[in-house]
Structures are given as structure tokens and as C-alpha cells.
């Protein structure tokens, strides 16, 4: 039977903050208090509230986990009684699978601790038969939030109705008990670790538009540093690098909006920050795919693959410590503050020659140029084309995507037209690139180890590299088809038409 405290967070609970002073039971019915329980329950989620975002709530009481969706319990399982965990740390279960879908590779940890006091009551008729049960659950500091959880028994609907009427209580207000309990505990679910989309009207001067993109991207990058230092999960580093890349890319894409020398110094600094984490990110990507890689080789090679990953895991521990130390260095802290200051104020960086050009005009020209450039690079693409050229196209596509992502409001039609084909291509190119990077990583490992690599490990490396090569070839074929769609004459024409000449919109 589900505990009343869990149902307190469900849709059937009634607000009991102001109960009837002396609830009198209907005639012939007798109220008996039953068990009283006081305990602490933890609300668990990922750092980005991924479970909450998926409409799920995970409770932990001791080592018992209960996953609820929209107020109804979906699954229960045992888990670690303290500390965070990943979904794959749990024994195989329905709860684990559901967490895997919602949390992905993010760590799940306590985001709030709630004090709960649950009191059960029974109502019996003249025969001594229980005809209605209910719980009164108090949550939060000093039991400030109190709900009534009716638990009617089958076949005794009339008695339940009469008892509820006598007990009083009101419909739950908007938000339910959990939202109010979290607010009471000073916790507010925040669904995204990414920056809020900046408001950029088409007529905004390019310099100001650029600041509005760069400033929040930098803020997000710095916010993720704590998670990297604590090594909560690998997504902090990923988000950090994405934010740095976005800030750096925006500065490059709108060159001319701000002082070139200043922009160059900032881009160099951001580039160095990102580069310092390259090895750690490579190791993360590889280790995240560990189970897939182990499963992809024959059983006989698995011990060698495991040994390989164990050594990579040890290297990651060292690399993470090195990155954390760099992020904690006083000079790094100073540098981040100096860079942020340049974009937080309009006078942080001197204006460039295109500072006052309306952002729509600046972006229109760049979108058209970038799209044409991709089409040109894609023109002679074939099976024999070196991977490097495909990589160059991927970079161009990423720049085009960033342009449209940052300044969509300035070129809404083009953003809409290109969104789907660009995303399709980017997904395929991204998968191709991941396979290539992992393959190169292995080959690099093999070359550096030379004859020192144990034979079974060398065979494992060779097998995995071969599998990744074949995988990459599959992705490459898919990418080529998506590229043809993105650079079709019809689409080029359609995008060009969606971008009216600059002097007609802003004479």
C-alpha cells in the first residue's frame, strides 16, 4: 500500500492548512487515530532539474527511492541512502530505466530536504468495519503546510463523501504541495543550465546585440565551473565548453561590431580556457561510451577493453584534478571577472567600425555568405573527399547555426527555413565527428604506447578503432545526403529571397 505521505504530493490531496476546529464525524461513525510518523524525505533531481522538467519527482527516504509522475507513483526501487548517483548505478529496474530516459548522463542528487509528519486515521461504522481512511501530512518548517489525504475504501463511497464533508479542507491551490514545500525550503526548480535567450530586436545596433549574446554565455560558462571543480557530472564541462564556444563564436561572427584588438584578446583567452579542457572532454566522451564499447567487442576481448578503460579512467582522474586546479587559480578568477566586465557595460570594449549597423542588416549579409560558402565546399564532395574537408564544412555549418540561433529575431524567415535541414545535417556531422575523434584518440593512444602496449590491449584498441571507422563511414553517408538537401539550389534561392537587401530595410 502506498504511504499517505507520498499521496500528499498527488492531485487527490486537499489543503488542510485551516482544518475544522473540531471535526465531528457523521452519525454512527467513529474516528480513531492510528500511526504517527515523523521523518525526512529528500527530493532528488539532476543539476538542471531534468526530472522535474520531464514531469517526474524522485523521493528518497533512507535507501528507498520512489518515482512519481504527476502525483502518482510510477516505480519504487532501492538506492544509495546518501550522496548522488547516476541511473546506471542502480540495479536494473523500471525506476532505473525511467530515470535513464529523463536524467540521461546527469548525476542525480538531493535538491531539497523536507521534514514530513504523517498521521493516519481510520473511520469505522457500527459493525467496527473500517469505511474510510485518511492521512494528515504536514510538510516543511514547523509543519506550516498541511494536507488531507483521503483514502476511500471500495464500496464505501457514501461514507467517504460524508467524512470529507465533515473534515473540511479546501481544493489545493495552484502549484500543489511540493511546489509550496520547495518554496518554503528556499528551493526553486530551474529547468535549464543554458542562458536565457537574449532579446534582440532587428534594429538593435550590432555592438549592443553582440554584448547581449556574449554576456549571458560567459555567465553560464562561469556558473558551470563549480560543477567541474566538484566533478558532479560530465555535463558541467560540456555546458562550460559550449558556452565558451558560443561566446567566442559570436565575437568572431560579428567581427567589426567591437574593437578588433580587444575582441582578439578575449577570443584568445576563451580559446585557451576551452583548450585546457580538451583532453578531459575527450576522456569524458570516451568513458561515457564505455558500456557501448564493451558490448560491441567479442566476449574474449572484453577484459582487455575493460583494462583499457580503467587506464583511461585513471587518466581522467588526474586530468580532472589538473583542470579543477586551473579553474581555482586566482589568476583564472581574475581573468573571468575582467572578461565579463568587458561585456557587462556598453563601454567595456571600444566600438568597431560596424558597431552601429542594425543587427538585421549585419546578420542578413553573413547568413547569405555563410550559406553560399557551405554550398561551395559541398559541391565537389564525394566518397574520396578527405575527412578534413567534411570537418571544415561542419565548422561552417556550426557558425551558420550559431548566427541563426543568436540572432533569430533579426532574420526570422531564414531561421525558420534553415532550422530543420541544418539541424539534420549537424546531427549527422556531429555523430561522424564523434566517431572520428574517438578513433583518432585510440590510434593516438596506440602510437604513443608503441610496443609497450600489451598485445591483448593492442587487439582491443584495433578492434574498437575498426568499429568506429565503420560507424563513422555510415554517419558520413548520411551527412552527405543531408548536406545535399541543405545546399540545394531551391533552398539557396529560398533563403536568399527571405533576406531582403540591406538598404531596403534600413536605408
Amino acid at each position: 500500500m502506498r504511504a499517505a505521505w507520498m499521496e500528499a504530493f498527488g492531485p487527490g490531496a486537499r489543503d488542510f492548512s485551516a482544518p475544522s476546529a473540531d471535526p465531528a464525524m457523521p452519525a454512527g461513525l467513529v474516528l480513531s487515530p492510528r500511526a504517527v510518523e515523523e521523518f525526512e524525505v529528500e527530493v532528488m533531481d539532476t543539476p538542471s532539474w531534468g526530472l522535474w522538467g520531464a514531469g517526474l519527482v524522485l523521493f528518497r527516504r533512507g535507501s528507498s527511492l520512489a518515482l512519481c509522475g504527476k502525483g502518482s507513483m510510477m516505480a519504487e526501487a532501492a538506492g544509495p541512502s546518501e550522496g548522488g548517483f547516476f541511473w546506471w548505478d542502480l540495479r536494473k529496474s523500471e525506476l532505473g530505466e525511467r530515470l535513464g530516459e529523463a536524467a540521461g548522463i546527469r548525476k542525480i542528487d538531493a535538491v531539497a530536504r523536507l521534514g514530513v509528519a504523517a498521521r493516519d486515521f481510520e473511520v469505522s461504522n457500527g459493525e467496527g468495519k473500517v469505511v474510510f481512511r485518511f492521512g494528515v501530512v504536514s510538510v516543511g518548517r514547523a509543519g506550516s503546510l498541511r494536507v488531507l489525504v483521503p483514502r476511500p475504501l471500495r464500496g464505501y463511497g457514501a461514507e467517504a463523501e460524508a467524512c470529507c464533508l465533515a473534515l473540511g479542507g479546501a481544493e489545493m491551490r495552484e502549484g500543489g504541495l511540493l511546489e509550496r514545500a520547495l518554496a518554503d525550503a528556499g528551493v526553486s526548480p530551474h529547468l535549464s543550465s543554458g542562458p536565457a535567450r537574449a532579446e534582440i530586436p532587428p534594429g538593435l545596433p550590432a555592438a549592443e546585440a553582440l554584448r547581449r549574446v556574449v554576456s549571458p554565455a560567459l555567465e553560464t560558462a562561469w556558473k558551470n565551473e563549480e560543477g567541474i571543480i566538484r566533478d558532479t557530472d560530465t555535463e558541467f564541462l560540456h555546458d562550460y565548453r559550449v558556452s565558451l564556444r558560443k561566446a567566442r563564436s559570436a565575437l568572431g561572427l560579428l567581427s567589426g561590431a567591437l574593437d578588433a584588438a580587444g575582441v582578439s584578446r578575449v577570443r584568445d583567452a576563451l580559446g585557451l580556457m576551452a583548450a585546457r579542457t580538451n583532453r578531459l572532454r575527450d576522456l569524458d566522451v570516451y568513458l561515457l561510451a564505455r558500456r557501448d564499447h564493451e558490448d560491441s567487442v567479442p566476449e574474449v576481448l572484453r577484459p582487455a577493453v575493460r583494462a583499457l578503460f580503467d587506464s583511461l579512467s585513471e587518466e581522467r582522474t588526474r586530468e580532472q584534478a589538473s583542470v579543477a586546479s586551473a579553474l581555482l587559480a586566482p589568476r583564472h578568477r581574475e581573468l573571468t571577472q575582467e572578461i565579463s566586465a568587458l561585456f557587462d557595460r556598453p563601454d567595456g570594449l571600444a566600438p568597431g567600425p560596424e558597431a552601429e549597423v542594425p543587427i538585421a542588416a549585419a546578420v542578413s549579409a553573413r547568413v547569405a555568405r555563410r550559406h553560399r560558402k557551405i554550398a561551395k565546399l559541398a559541391r565537389d564532395l564525394g566518397a574520396e573527399t578527405p575527412d578534413a574537408q567534411l570537418h571544415a564544412i561542419r565548422i561552417q555549418c556550426k557558425k551558420l547555426r550559431y548566427l541563426l540561433e543568436f540572432f533569430a529575431a533579426a532574420v526570422p524567415q531564414a531561421a525558420t527555413i534553415l532550422e530543420h535541414p541544418l539541424r539534420r545535417l549537424q546531427n549527422r556531422l556531429g555523430a561522424f565527428n564523434d566517431a572520428s575523434v574517438q578513433r583518432e584518440f585510440l590510434l593516438d593512444l596506440w602510437q604513443h604506447a608503441g610496443p609497450g602496449l600489451p598485445p591483448d590491449r593492442a587487439v582491443a584498441v584495433g578492434t574498437l578503432a575498426g568499429l568506429l571507422h565503420a560507424q563513422g563511414a555510415g554517419f558520413r553517408a548520411g551527412a552527405q545526403r543531408a548536406l545535399e538537401a541543405l545546399t540545394s539550389p531551391a533552398l539557396l534561392k529560398s533563403v536568399r529571397r527571405s533576406l531582403p537587401p540591406v538598404n531596403t530595410i534600413y536605408p
Binding site: M1, K129, Y156
Partner: protein, 249 residues
């Protein structure tokens, strides 16, 4: 869903005690269980403090499914529901006799509950009637309490004869010794010889116990107020034995 009937031609052999305690044991084993009190005396209904109902209609064109669902009452033990006895069951045979496929009406009715319950226990009135034949055709196991006496064993033989004469599968009949007093010489002797004559006898035997009679005072299954008495342990063992027979252990 598996259907277990507590049945005997003879009265006073421990059918209702079996139904009540077996249902409770199934519920404790995590099975969503329904106890159907088919006996107009309503003793099983009484033991669970549920009121008898007049609502469950016996119609001429078949038993009413909606009426059945409305009549079900949740017991004080979650996971165990009761379909209370009704005085109208006195006319069960007459009602069934007027229906098409009169020997399978109970089966049809139980099929409607297949998605609601893991186990159904039928507490049957004594006798060999049209309702009894419905029970035979609906049940996966027919549990027959047999007091180790001559009369009781004679009624078991009568049940087997009826099955043979009506092309019913005798394999569903699983007798067990009930109300056993080991100090009685006759009980001792018959328990040694009857299983040879009827090899389907279950291994578990339920002893005669004062606690069983106290169920009427407590109005609850024996396991709730005297869980360590020999009879309570025997019913628990019996529940495991019959679940194992039907692959639900």
C-alpha cells in the same frame, strides 16, 4: 486470475474458515484477492464485518456484471475485497435454471473480473446443486475440507462420483484434512488410509483449534489475532501449497 473454491457437500467441515483465512493469506502474499461469499448464511461476510447486500441482482438473462462490481466491498485489509453474501442467493439455483448456459454463468461472471484480481476465493454453501456445478466449472482448484470421519469421506466420494458422471475434470478436486484432532483414534486411522484411496489429498492438514472458533468474536482472520497458533500456521502453509499447484507461489 486463478479461482479457488472452498467446497464440500457436507456442512460444518471448515469451508468458511478456509475461505476467510486463505483469502487473507493470498492477500499477505501480495495477490489482489476477492472473496466471494456464495453462502446465504453470510458467515464469511460476517467475519469481515461487511454487511450483506441486497443489491447484487440475479436476473433472468444472466448474472449482472455491473451489479457485481457495485456490490464489492474493500475489507479492512488492503488487497482483499469481499463480495458479500446476499439473502437472494437462496434463489440462486432457481435464477440459474432460467438462464441460457445455466452451468457456466458463474464462470462468465468471474471472467469479467480477470483484470481486477489475481485470486478469487469462492466460499460455497454445502450441497450438490446447480450453483455447485457452476462452481465446479468456474474453479481452477476445488479445495474440499475433509474431517477424518466416515461421513465426511463419504461425501468426498460422492463429489468424485458426480464429476465422473458429468464429464467434469476430477483433477481440480484437491481434498485436505480439516479440523483434525490427532488424539482421536479414528482421525489418525483415516488420515493413514484415505490418501491412498484419493491420491489428490493436499499435504497440509488443518488442526481443530479453539482459535478458529474465536474468529467469530474477533470478526477477523485467525492470522490477525493468533498468528502463531497451529491452525494459523496450517492455513498459511496451505495457501503456499495451493499457490504452488497453480504456479503463483
Amino acid at each position: 486470475m486463478k479461482i479457488f473454491a472452498s467446497y464440500s457437500i457436507k456442512g460444518g467441515v471448515g469451508k468458511t474458515s478456509l475461505s476467510v483465512n486463505l483469502s487473507y493469506a493470498f492477500r499477505c502474499a501480495g495477490l489482489q484477492t476477492l472473496l466471494v461469499d456464495l453462502d446465504p448464511q453470510g458467515a464469511a461476510t460476517f467475519y469481515f464485518r461487511v454487511s450483506s447486500t441486497e443489491k447484487f441482482p440475479l436476473k433472468g438473462d444472466g448474472l449482472s456484471v455491473s451489479g457485481l462490481r457495485e456490490a464489492i466491498r474493500e475489507s479492512d485489509y488492503s488487497g482483499l475485497d469481499i463480495l458479500p453474501a446476499s439473502p437472494s442467493y437462496r434463489k440462486f439455483d432457481i435464477a440459474l435454471d432460467g438462464m441460457r448456459k445455466s452451468r457456466k454463468q458463474l464462470r462468465f461472471l468471474m471472467d469479467e473480473l480477470a483484470s481486477d484480481y489475481d485470486a478469487v476465493v469462492l466460499d460455497c454453501p454445502p450441497g450438490l446443486t446447480l450453483l455447485s456445478e457452476n462452481v465446479f466449472r468456474a474453479s481452477d482448484l476445488l479445495l474440499v475440507p475433509v474431517i477424518p470421519t466416515v461421513l465426511s469421506s463419504r461425501t468426498l466420494a460422492q463429489a468424485y462420483e458426480f464429476f465422473a458422471g458429468h464429464d467434469l475434470p476430477a483433477g481440480v478436486i484437491r481434498p485436505f484434512f480439516s479440523m483434525v484432532q490427532s488424539s482421536h483414534r479414528m482421525h489418525h486411522d483415516l488420515m493413514a488410509t484415505l490418501p491412498a484411496e484419493f491420491p489428490a489429498f493436499l499435504k497440509t492438514a488443518v488442526p481443530h483449534a479453539a482459535s478458529v472458533e474465536k474468529m467469530g468474536l474477533h470478526r477477523s482472520p485467525i492470522q490477525t489475532f493468533d498468528p502463531d497458533c497451529p491452525a494459523a500456521r496450517a492455513y498459511a502453509a496451505l495457501s503456499l501449497e495451493v499457490l504452488a499447484l497453480r504456479g503463483q507461489s
